[in-house]
Amino acid sequence: MLLEVAELAVDLMTPGGSRRVVDRTSFSLDEGESLGVVGESGSGKTMTALALMGLTPEGARVSGSIRFEGRELIGLSEEAMQQLRGDRIAMIFQEPMTALNPLHKVGAQVAEPLVLHRGLTERDARGRAVDLLERVRLTEPERAARSYPFALSGGERQRAMIAMAIGCSPRLIIADEPTTALDVTVQARILTLIDGLRSESKMAILLVSHDLAVIAGHCDRVIVMYAGVIMESGPVEVVLHQPRNPYTLALLEARPRPGAPRGARLKTIPGAPPAAQEHSVGCPFAGRCALTVDRCWTTPPPEVGFGANHVSRCHRAGEVGFGR
C-alpha cells in the first residue's frame, strides 16, 4: 500500500482556541490508484492534502499516522520531508495565476525540483524542463520555458505546474482543485492530461475537488468529507450511484440537472456547515440532514460497511436512498 492514513487529525490554533479541521480520518491509496476527495469549502479536504505534504500552516497540530511507502511522515524531520516533497510526493495547486513565481522564468521553475533532488546542473535541468513541458502538451515548449509566467495563459500555466510536479517521477501526486480556476474546455483537457500521465507512469493521484463531475470522471475511489469527517468512502460508481450517506445524497441532488423542467427549483442543502468553534459531539451533519434523529446529536455515527470497501458513517445508513 503506497499511502496509509490512520486517524489523521489537524487542529488549527485560532485566537479563540483550537479548532479541529480534520477529524480522525482514515483512508489508503495504492500504487497507480486514483482517489477523489470531495466536499464543500471548509470540509477539511485541502487541509488533509497539506497535512500529507507537511505543509500545514504555522501553529497547526497534526496527529495520527501517515505512512507513505512504509515510512511514518508525522513527526518526520523537516529535512527529510523536504527530500520527499517534489521528489516522491508532488502537489498541484488551484490557482495557476498566482502559484508560479512571477520573477522566475517558467523553465527555471520547472527545472528547480530536478536540480534539488536529482543533482542536475542548471543547464541540464533546463533541457529536461523543455522535455517535460513538451510532455504536458505545451505547444512551443522552448518558448514557454524562456517565458515568464505572466506571458502564459491559465491553462498553459497549469500545464507548467504539472510539468513541475512530474519532473522527478513522483509516486504520488496530490492535486488540489487543479481545474477549478480554469475555463470549462480547458478543464477537460487538463484532466485528460493528468489521466494520461497517470497511466503512462503508474502514479497515484489524490484528487481534491468540490466538483462531483470531476471526481466521477477521473477517480477510481472517492471519499466524501464534511466538517473534517469522512462521511462516506468507496468505489466511485458505487458511492455516486448508490450513496449510503444522507450528505452524499444531498450533494448529488444539489447538482443542476440538465433536462429538468424549466423553472424547477434547484435543490439545496438547508442550513450552513458548522461554524468555526463548534465541535459537536454527534454527527456534524445533524440538523441539516433530512434523516436526523435524536441519536445523531448525541452519539458519533458508526461506520457501516456495504461491501467492496464501501463505508458510510451514519446512524441510519441503511435507510439512505429509499424513497428517492
Binding site: 529535512e79 523536504q82 516533497r85 521528489d87 513565481n101 528547480e112 534539488l116 505572466f150 506571458a151 513541475m164
Partner: protein
C-alpha cells in the same frame, strides 16, 4: 526593456528640466539682492547698479535662466559671490566629502535594514521580531544629530578611536574614511530603521503569496524559499522606498556635517544661504535635485531589471 528604458530616460530629462525651472523661480522670488549683499549696506546705489550690470543680474529672467543652463552643461557654473571663485570646483570639492558619506550611510542602512528586515519577517510574531521592531522604533525616534553628538562623545572624546571632526582630505584615504565613519553611522542608523520596517512588511507580503507554497511543495527549504523566492519579490517596494528616502538622507547630512565640521555640500549650502550667495545655493540645490531624481531613475531601472512585468508594461 529598451522601450521601458527609453521612456524612463525621457521622463528623467523632463523632470530635470522642470526641477531647474522651479529652483530658478524660487531663487528669484526669495528676497535679497546679490549685488547689494556683496558690496555691503554702505555701498552706493550706483555701485550696486554697476555690479548688477557686470554680473548680468539686470537681464530678464528667461535669459538668465538660459545662461545658467547653458553654462551648467559646459561645466561653467559662474562665480560665487561670497568667495569670488568659480562655483564648479567649490561644489565639486564639497561633493568629494558628501558623496562618499552618503554612500557609506546608504550602504550601512541597506545591509543592516535588509538583514534585520528579513530576520524579523521570518520570525514574525515571535521574540526576534518584537526585538527588531523595538530597535527600529528607537532608531527612527533618535534625532541623527543627537546620535552624532553621542557618537562623538563615546568614540572620539572618551575612547579616542576616531577624530571628533574635520576632514583631512583624500590624499590620506585611511584617515579620510576614518573621519567619515561616525558621520556615516549617525546618518545610516535612521535609514537602517526605516529600511528594516519596509523590508519586513514587504517580505511578509511576499511570504503570504501562493508561489511560496509551490516552492515548499517542490522541496525547497524554508531558508532557500525565503531568500530565493520571497526576497526578490519584495525588492521592488524596498528599492523604491530606499530611493525616496535618499532625499531625507541628504537633508540629514546637512545637519550631521555641521556636527562633525565636515566641508561637505550641506555645510556649503548652509553657509551660502546665510551669505546670500544665491548662485551657489541655486547650483547646489539643483545638484541635489539632479542626484535625487537621478537616483530614483536608477531605482526604476533596477526594479525593471528585477521584475519582468514592469518591462512588459511599457509596450
Amino acid at each position: 526593456m529598451l522601450l521601458y528604458l527609453g521612456q524612463r530616460v525621457a521622463l528623467f530629462v523632463a523632470t530635470l528640466l522642470f526641477a531647474s525651472l522651479v529652483v530658478f523661480a524660487v531663487m528669484q522670488i526669495l528676497p535679497g539682492d546679490a549685488a547689494q549683499t556683496m558690496l555691503g549696506p554702505t555701498a552706493t546705489p550706483e555701485a550696486v547698479a554697476a555690479l548688477s550690470h557686470k554680473l548680468g543680474l539686470d537681464l530678464p529672467a528667461p535669459i538668465r535662466y538660459a545662461h545658467w543652463i547653458w553654462g551648467a552643461l559646459h561645466g561653467d557654473l559662474g562665480l560665487s559671490y561670497a568667495y569670488g571663485s568659480p562655483i564648479g570646483p567649490l561644489i565639486a570639492s564639497s561633493l568629494a566629502v558628501s558623496a562618499p558619506l552618503a554612500l557609506m550611510a546608504m550602504a550601512l542602512a541597506a545591509i543592516i535594514g535588509l538583514v534585520a528586515g528579513v530576520y524579523a519577517a521570518d520570525r514574525r510574531g515571535r521574540a526576534g521580531d518584537a526585538m527588531v521592531m523595538g530597535f527600529s522604533q528607537i532608531g527612527i525616534a533618535v534625532p541623527n544629530f543627537w546620535l552624532a553628538i553621542l557618537l562623538v562623545l563615546v568614540f572620539a572624546v572618551t575612547l579616542r578611536l576616531v577624530p571628533a571632526g574635520g576632514f583631512p582630505g583624500w590624499h590620506d584615504p585611511a584617515r579620510a574614511i576614518a573621519a567619515l565613519i561616525l558621520p556615516a553611522i549617525a546618518l545610516g542608523v535612521v535609514q537602517a530603521a526605516i529600511v528594516t520596517r519596509v523590508t519586513r512588511s514587504a517580505v511578509i507580503e511576499a511570504l503570504n503569496e501562493d508561489f511560496m507554497r509551490t516552492a515548499r511543495a517542490k522541496g525547497v527549504s524554508r531558508r532557500a524559499a525565503l531568500w530565493r523566492h520571497a526576497l526578490p519579490n519584495a525588492l521592488t517596494p524596498i528599492l523604491t522606498i530606499m530611493g525616496l528616502q535618499f532625499a531625507n538622507l541628504i537633508a540629514g547630512a546637512i545637519v550631521v556635517e555641521n556636527v562633525f565640521v565636515l566641508p561637505g555640500l550641506g555645510r556649503l549650502l548652509l553657509q551660502s544661504i546665510s551669505n546670500r550667495d544665491t548662485l551657489v545655493v541655486e547650483n547646489g540645490v539643483m545638484l541635489l535635485a539632479v542626484i535625487v531624481i537621478g537616483l530614483n531613475f536608477v531605482v526604476d531601472v533596477a526594479c525593471a531589471a528585477i521584475d519582468p512585468r514592469l518591462r512588459a508594461s511599457a509596450a
